[in-house]
């Protein structure tokens, strides 16, 4: 069953950049990634591998669309050939389609490469939840205490509001919760504990299984 994709202006620009990458270097990269004995789990590490064969500019332009395509293939249960075909149709001019054809075979093999699949799978599983946190902040207010006449400030109360913005299948949502100092301290404690627990279980899993393991959202620098 054919799939349709609608890349926006920026995405199309990135795809156009990809069509300008030297196809021979791209082929070297595909073979390099296919032959990796231990494919990376984190996108930053993957980017480093890509940079070993392409310029930084090309590598950074290539990785996001390739990961997107790999995710589309996974989420729509489509073949990589169908995905590259769908992206071909996203180009309007025949010249651009022809330029895409030159690298489409390489992109298609790249999408299927274990190195790309592993990172995509890890990313998707990291955020495979009904609701995704987009932003969390604590707004601190001072509420004045007025006298009975409402003209004199007799004191003040500092309050905190935990504001959470999250994304679900039906769009973005906001939630505001009033919290006091003890809640803030408890949250701080829980956050520190969660970071420790994540690191401990990741290290234990990696050591006992000799398999890579990442904490959802961690970057290469955190993993070192």
């Amino acid at each position: 069953m054919p799939i349709k994709v609608k890349p926006d202006k920026d995405q199309l620009a990135q795809l156009r950049h990809c069509t300008r990458i030297d196809a021979s270097k791209l082929a070297d990269l595909v073979i390099h990634l296919s032959d990796l004995a231990k494919p990376p789990l984190i996108a930053d590490q993957l980017l480093t591998e890509i940079k070993s064969k392409l310029s930084s500019e090309d590598a950074e332009a290539l990785l996001p669309p390739v990961l997107s395509m790999s995710m589309i293939a996974r989420s729509s249960e489509s073949k990589s050939t169908e995905v590259v075909k769908a992206f071909r149709n996203a180009f309007e001019s025949p010249e651009e389609q022809e330029a895409w054809d030159k690298i489409a075979g390489l992109i298609q093999v790249l999408i299927d490469a274990p190195a790309i699949r592993l990172v995509t799978k890890a990313m998707q599983l990291s955020y495979d939840y009904a609701n995704l946190l987009r932003k969390a902040n604590i707004v601190t207010d001072l509420r004045p205490l007025f006298d009975d006449s409402g003209t004199v400030v007799e004191g003040g109360v500092v309050t905190h509001t935990l504001r959470i913005a999250y994304q679900s299948d039906d769009g973005g949502h906001d939630l505001s919760l009033a919290i006091d100092l003890k809640d803030v301290q408890k949250l701080q404690e829980q956050c520190e504990r969660a970071i420790k627990k994540g690191t401990s279980i990741r290290d234990e899993f990696s050591q006992s299984t000799n398999k890579p393991c990442m904490i959802s959202g961690e970057s290469e620098s955190h993993n070192e």
Partner: protein, 310 residues
């Protein structure tokens, strides 16, 4: 799409938002309503020709390869290709081509090469990009690479697909570096002929019916020091012969076995695989004597080596 390395979560959300599955109504009758009568007729003829080719190839009888290679079938295929001038060539048809009949395959290659419009670099780029090689037998992908090998310098994806075949062969446990080993073994051969040889060798292991030259493939594997694949070639294909009641063909295999080129493992394998039906194989006793003599001459006839195999 900003740098994914910095914001993987953003990318996941973005993909969720941007990518949509188009559940198009894929009614198989749609083409009928929207296509002119003449074209519908052509389409139906095409389907028949293709189906005919595939059906015969899929047949479990041992003569499938001969049928595919028969002039009638090839004429039908040729006729069908000529009639497809307005449609881009898809590679799916190649799946049915057996590399076993080299002559027939070369005819097919020659025919394709004559179709200039089907063989430009641009066309090969499209074919190699939009064909689902994962659903193909590895041998068919190797055949495609054989056909297009003269343009490989202009088609970067060519060597990527070759590497993919190599990986697939590794995962099938057939050979770790089949192409390199063949190149080292036969340095004078062209890449086209090496790929055809590789396809035939893989064919002998992949195909679920006995192939005509499986013993040659076994010897070829053995010469590359790939004894496991060599033995698999002999045992699997001999078993297919027995399963399909092809005693006459098996006897012909025994008669044509190039014992002078074979090493001891393949020799023992052919004698062992055919032992259960030795009374029905007229050529087997001659083969046994030839093998015994050859091993003796080479100084490899260890005591008891051929016991129970006569």
């Amino acid at each position: 799409m900003s740098s994914v390395a910095l914001d993987p979560r953003g990318l996941v959300v973005q993909v969720r938002e941007n990518a949509e599955r188009a559940y198009l109504d894929y009614d198989s009758n749609d083409w009928y309503r929207s296509t002119a009568r003449q074209a519908r007729f052509g389409e139906q003829s095409t389907s028949r020709a293709t189906m005919g080719l595939c059906d015969e190839q899929k047949s479990s009888s041992g003569i499938a390869a001969e049928q595919v290679a028969s002039p009638t079938i090839w004429n039908r295929v040729a006729h069908w290709f000529r009639g497809r001038t307005e449609k881009p060539l898809t590679l799916d048809e190649f799946q049915s081509v057996s590399p076993n009949d080299v002559q027939a395959f070369d005819q097919f290659v020659t025919f394709l090469r004559q179709q200039e419009s089907c063989n430009s670099v641009e066309d090969w780029n499209k074919k190699l990009a939009y064909t689902d090689f994962d659903s193909w037998p590895v041998k068919s992908t190797i055949l495609i690479l054989a056909i297009s090998c003269d343009k490989q310098d202009d088609i970067p994806v060519w060597r990527v697909q070759l590497n993919r075949c190599r990986k697939n062969l590794q995962s099938l446990g057939i050979h770790n570096n089949l192409f390199e080993s063949l190149r080292n073994q036969y340095p004078a051969d062209s890449q086209h002929s090496l790929l055809l040889k590789a396809a035939r060798m893989v064919d002998a292991l992949e195909t679920q019916v006995a192939t005509d030259d499986y013993l040659d493939s076994a010897i070829a594997f053995e010469q590359l020091n790939e004894v496991r694949s060599a033995l698999a070639c002999v045992y699997r294909n001999a078993r297919y012969r027995l399963r399909d009641g092809q005693i006459k063909e098996l006897d012909s295999d025994v008669r044509g076995f190039e014992f002078s080129e074979a090493k001891v493992d393949t020799m023992l394998a052919i004698l062992t695989a055919t032992a259960p039906v030795k009374r029905n194989l007229a050529s087997r006793s001659t083969l046994y004597a030839n093998i015994q003599r050859t091993l003796k001459k080479r100084g490899q006839l260890e005591r008891g080596l051929l016991d129970g195999l006569q």
